[in-house]
């Protein structure tokens, strides 16, 4: 916690020294003359970043003091146990696809977080899981995640490292392999958690055709309609990132979720006020100062 406070203080300090002089007088003097080391036009963004960080860390601190935050039921996550249980009963495997991007993608990391939890349930139920991946680094990370889950369940010897394996980086080569795997092995439950592109519908429709219970989660907005149409449950955008908090129930995670909600409310208020101010300016030709203020808050 001390480390976090230190980092927070450093960021706030930096903002005070850098952002405000830049934000106050960017027009009068060239930014290069005053702060050649600060990227011009980013002051407002930095302020937002600090605000968001402060709200999230502050909420975590509140949660650590014992304040309990409630989180609404997320059907897709509540169904994880049901899906794994069903696969166990049917004696069929569980398929987990952590998207098609690498470890530098936050959606892949969020997917592995869910995998970690699914792995724990799989270990508890003594079910079998198959995780074909399209990136070598993801394979290493996914193996580590499931191995730790088996260890936590007290069944370290039950983990089969060959259940997590690399297929290919090529998008449609990977899709062809996973579709074929589904048709041959007929997994009872399919999880799609990560970043997906055109393969989303091919995979989920194949899963649908074999009668698997399907749960998807992605922040790739263009693929959400396909998952919604073909899967039983879909974690939409931020729900996917909330999975970690929802599944673990840890105070730190719940606090960060609370912080996220507060930040969203702040953005919403600024958005509504900004739209009202700009509409008023456009209709009356007055109050342009207020409109410009809100535009500057948006970094524009």
């Amino acid at each position: 916690m001390k480390l976090q406070r230190l980092i927070l203080l450093c960021i706030v300090g930096l903002t005070m020294t850098i952002a405000f002089p830049c934000a106050a007088a960017p027009e009068q003097t060239t930014t290069a003359e005053i702060t050649p080391w600060f990227v011009p036009g980013r002051a407002v963004l930095l302020v937002w970043l600090v605000l968001l960080s402060a709200v999230v860390l502050g909420s975590i601190a509140v949660a650590r003091k014992g304040v309990v935050f409630k989180v609404r039921r997320i059907a897709g996550l509540a169904a994880v146990d049901e899906a794994v249980g069903r696969a166990t009963e049917m004696g069929r495997p569980i398929l987990f696809v952590p998207g098609i991007q690498d470890m530098d993608n936050v959606q892949t990391i969020a997917g592995l977080t869910v995998l970690s939890r699914v792995g724990r349930t799989v270990a508890d139920y003594d079910a079998s899981i198959e995780v074909p991946v399209s990136r070598s680094l993801v394979m290493a990370a996914a193996r580590e995640a499931i191995a730790s889950s088996y260890l936590a369940a007290g069944r370290a010897d039950g983990f089969n490292p060959n259940s997590v394996y690399y297929v290919t980086d090529e998008q449609f080569g990977y899709t062809a392999y996973v579709s074929g795997l589904m048709v041959r092995k007929k997994p009872a439950a399919c999880f799609y958690m990560g970043q997906f592109f055109a393969e989303s519908l091919i995979l989920s429709e194949t899963g649908n055709s074999i009668g698997a219970i399907q749960i998807a989660g992605t922040a790739e907005t263009s693929q959400l309609p396909f998952f919604v149409a073909a899967c039983d449950y879909t974690l939409i955008g931020e729900e996917f990132f909330a999975a970690s908090a929802y599944l673990s129930g840890e105070p730190d995670q719940m606090g960060s979720l609370r912080g996220q909600d507060i930040a969203k409310a702040m953005v919403g208020i600024v958005l509504v006020l900004g739209v009202l101010a700009l509409t008023l300016t456009a209709m009356t030709g007055q109050f342009s100062g207020i409109g410009s203020f809100f535009q500057s808050l948006a970094g524009g």
């Binding site: 977080t113 429709e205 931020e238 958005l271």
Partner: protein
């Protein structure tokens, strides 16, 4: 101990990447961090290739279900690798006509180019075109007017499906210019630019905050569940 090192690397590289968005002197360091990731990912290719060989060889040797596919995979993998490395059929560069391997591996006429043009391109295009079939089947099964929201979605789908083709022009081209916004192609544009765009913006804002909060938790080591230590 290993986990502590991993968390420290995450913290340092994460903070550097954030700072590079604001501080010019740190930008080159962040570029280095990105380069390190690329180097690691490239090395991991070897790990991936070894795993691919291991899994498929074991499937072939134990005659698992679908072992024939594994054999095809391994043959294709080794053949493509050999053709690329040995630059089979590559025409030499004009500047070095005597060096047979001086040309590009995928230059026109080479074996790799042949594989690309006549094997990879049609196969991947076929996979992509499967979408048309799956979309049709999903639309038939899932697109039903179960409630008011679903009905609105249906109406919007009809307008966009017809408005994005010549059918829109044929069906509503007669509408006078003063009411041209009612033509299907224009209604489709309105749905696209107003309603879909508004919904997208809302989802994107939520996602952006989720990404920022998740990144912050990962950088500061608050969320370690992706390493399997959530419990």
């Amino acid at each position: 101990m290993n986990r502590q090192i991993a968390l420290l690397v995450t913290l340092v590289s994460g903070v550097l990447m954030v700072l590079s968005g604001f501080l010019i002197p740190t930008q080159s360091w962040a570029e280095d961090v990105a380069e390190w990731f690329n180097v690691l990912a490239s090395i991991a290719f070897v790990l991936g290739a070894a795993n691919l060989a291991k899994i498929h060889l074991s499937k072939i040797s134990s005659r698992d279900e679908g072992w024939g596919f594994s054999a095809v995979t391994l043959i294709a993998f080794v053949a493509t690798l050999a053709i690329g490395f040995l630059k089979i059929g590559v025409a030499p560069l004009e500047t070095a006509p005597l060096v047979s391997m001086s040309g590009e591996k995928d230059g026109e006429g080479s074996a790799f180019w042949w594989l690309y043009t006549f094997v990879m391109s049609p196969i991947t295009a076929t996979m992509f075109s499967l979408l048309a079939f799956y979309v049709a089947s999903a639309a038939f099964r899932a697109f039903r007017a179960k409630n008011v929201e679903a009905t609105l979605l249906l109406v919007a789908a009809f307008i966009v499906l017809l408005g994005r083709t010549f059918a829109g022009v044929v069906l509503t081209g007669w509408i006078p210019d003063s009411l041209s916004f009612l033509r299907l192609e224009n209604l489709s544009t309105i749905i696209f630019e107003v309603f879909a765009s508004a919904g997208n913006r809302a989802i994107i804002i939520g996602i952006a905050l989720g990404v920022a909060a998740t990144s912050l938790k990962i950088i500061l080591g608050i969320d370690r569940s992706y390493m399997g230590s959530g419990d």
